[in-house]
């Protein structure tokens, strides 16, 4: 076990790509501890690629890129600026607001990073924000994607915890919105301190109407993606494909003549190519981390941790805060879905034993793992942002750190006050 952790650290320091570092250290473990289990390597690798739910990933990346190349994004941002553009750090505020809205559409933080990041990181850079700030706020605000309902990870938790998905969704509402509001505040403070740009916005009726008209194709976009899910036309994965299809159609309609044939013959294949390669960078990490997680499960590390926590006999709130700390640490090494699968059976029994509601624990677990998704070395969102922005994950994390304060404060509050996660579910469901 120690071999596994230390060798991973060594390989990462050497600068070996994260995916292959995970693979190499797992290989080392098998050779030394279980040579008879080496067959597992290709099987686990394959299972990490063979994931239907993650098809939404390249599709949302594609949607973002197509929104950019077809000019949808620029129109959408111009429109959003009418509301917050005059404030300091207007585009940073737009970024957080977009994630709050997008969080209500998609069930995943990675797709939030992919689509909003592809649009806003280059735009913020263009308007003079440090790239680190732009990428940082993008990943930090994308944590809301899996906390604000709907949420793919919460469905997974509900199944393992045998709890109501509906109640869990509602339980995530207040924590999600709290994170968003805190982050808006932090953006404002940082922007005022650093004198980040405000945007020139003319608020005459004429201009508002003109911008509204120009952005109407863009405004239909989120409605289209949300609408297909809310009105039951499509699943989350299908809506990603429909979003990409819509952006493609708009690109075709907005161009004419030579520009259109260029769009179809050059831009489109290039965009498809770049989206699938970006997604492959992330998929290969997920595939290799499957090996690592398998070893943790085989060695029954989660069980050992439970026994340890229960033996300490702490008061519920203190225990919960202690568990939050462990989840945060675990979340930096394990990706969201596997972490839910590993940690739920570990900590939930201990929590239920001292009277903590599974709904509250679920909201805490998902909120804490959302932070893990944006921290190195293993974090899907931060990897997506790195692939999009070209920045190193350490740099992006430094940019995100101030905003993650909002997540940590929220985590502490929902651990101490159960009502924050239990009140809304109790209103709507007996």
């Amino acid at each position: 076990m120690t071999i596994l952790l230390l060798s991973l650290l060594l390989f990462l320091i050497l600068g070996i790509p994260i995916a292959y570092a995970l693979g190499l250290s797992s290989f080392g473990y098998f050779v030394i501890q279980h040579p008879e289990l080496l067959d597992i390597l290709p099987m686990r690798f394959f299972s990490g690629l063979n994931l239907y739910a993650l098809i939404a990933l390249p599709l949302f990346i594609l949607m973002g890129l197509l929104m950019n190349s077809s000019g949808i994004t620029a129109r959408l941002i111009d429109f959003s600026l009418l509301f917050v553009g005059r404030l300091r750090g207007g585009l940073g505020l737009v970024n957080v607001m977009a994630s709050m809205i997008f969080g209500g559409i998609s069930g995943s933080s990675a797709s939030d990073t992919a689509s909003i990041g592809a649009v806003l990181i280059p735009e913020m850079e263009k308007r003079g924000y440090p790239k680190r700030f732009a990428a940082g706020i993008t990943v930090a605000s994308s944590t809301m994607g899996m906390i604000i309902p709907p949420s793919i990870p919460m469905v997974l938790y509900a199944i393992i915890a045998e709890e109501s998905v509906g109640k869990l969704f509602l339980g995530g509402l207040i924590p999600g919105v709290m994170i968003g509001l805190f982050q808006l505040g932090i953006v404002l403070i940082i922007s005022i301190k650093n004198n980040y740009p405000t945007e020139e916005v003319s608020l005459t009726l004429q201009n508002v109407v003109r911008q509204g008209k120009r952005s109407s194709v863009a405004l239909v976009m989120p409605l289209f993606v949300v609408g297909t899910v809310v009105f039951g036309v499509a699943t989350a994965t299908e809506s990603a494909a429909m979003g990409a299809g819509y952006a493609l159609l708009v690109g075709i309609l907005l161009t004419t003549g030579v520009a259109r044939s260029n769009y179809l013959k050059k831009t489109l294949p290039q965009t498809l190519n770049s989206a699938i390669q970006t997604s492959a960078k992330i998929m290969i990490i997920i595939a290799m981390s499957k090996l690592y997680i398998w070893v943790l499960a085989l060695e029954r590390i989660p069980e050992a941790v439970t026994a340890f926590v229960v033996a300490m006999a702490l008061p519920p709130t203190v225990m919960l805060l202690f568990i939050v700390l462990i989840i945060l640490i675990a979340g930096t090494f394990i990706d969201v879905s596997p972490a839910i699968m590993l940690l739920t059976p570990v900590f939930l029994p201990a929590c239920v034993a001292v009277g903590i509601s599974p709904i509250q624990f679920g909201a805490i677990l998902i909120s804490a793992l959302a932070v893990g998704a944006v921290t190195p070395p293993v974090g899907t969102c931060i990897n997506v942002a790195s692939a999009i922005s070209g920045l190193g994950i350490g740099t992006i994390f430094k940019g995100a750190a101030p905003f993650l304060l909002a997540n940590v404060i929220t985590l502490i509050l929902i651990s101490i006050f159960p009502a924050l996660t239990l009140w809304i579910p109790s209103l709507f469901m007996n």
Partner: protein
């Protein structure tokens, strides 16, 4: 030769991804327009996705664009950086070779298991592992040769 391979792979990637997009959309259209579905449609989408990811990872390796923590190696003097790179590519090639070798036994034993919905042998999908890792191994070797014999100067900002 190397450029040909990259072009071929990128065409394959685009085809796989277009196939995914088209099939997912088609399944929605069939559900509402025609009250039916393509049996095994989702299973086929996932197979395309597995190939796109495995081959995509190899192409990305060829461009040396994988996500890594370069903070430490960036602080090495240039001549040591060269050796670090060679060691890294050797190790990356090695783990891909391991995957390739061990996938043979796995596919030989279970490749004829038929898939649940399409009813095709699962080696169709499994082959993505030796294929993707094989190409990745080639790219690693190529990168080692490039690093050894080229006088390319290192740009620390990369």
């Amino acid at each position: 030769m190397e450029r040909r391979l990259k072009q071929l792979l990128e065409v394959l990637l685009i085809l796989c991804f277009s196939g995914i997009l088209a099939l997912v959309l088609l399944l929605v259209v069939l559900r509402y327009g025609f009250n039916t579905t393509l049996i095994g449609g989702n299973e086929f989408v996932v197979i395309l996705f597995v190939y796109a990811s495995a081959l995509g990872a190899a192409v990305v390796l060829g461009k040396n664009e994988h996500i890594s923590i370069t903070w430490f190696v960036n602080r090495l003097p240039l001549e040591y950086r060269k050796y670090a790179d060679i060691i890294n590519f050797a190790l990356v090639g090695f783990i891909n070779g391991v995957m390739l070798v061990y996938s043979i036994g796995w596919i030989a034993t279970t490749g004829d298991y038929v898939s649940a919905a399409l009813g095709i042998p699962q080696y169709f999908a499994q082959m993505a592992v030796p294929l993707g890792c094989g190409v990745a191994l080639l790219y690693s070797l190529n990168q080692i040769l490039l690093t050894l014999f080229s006088d390319k100067t290192y740009d620390p900002s990369l």
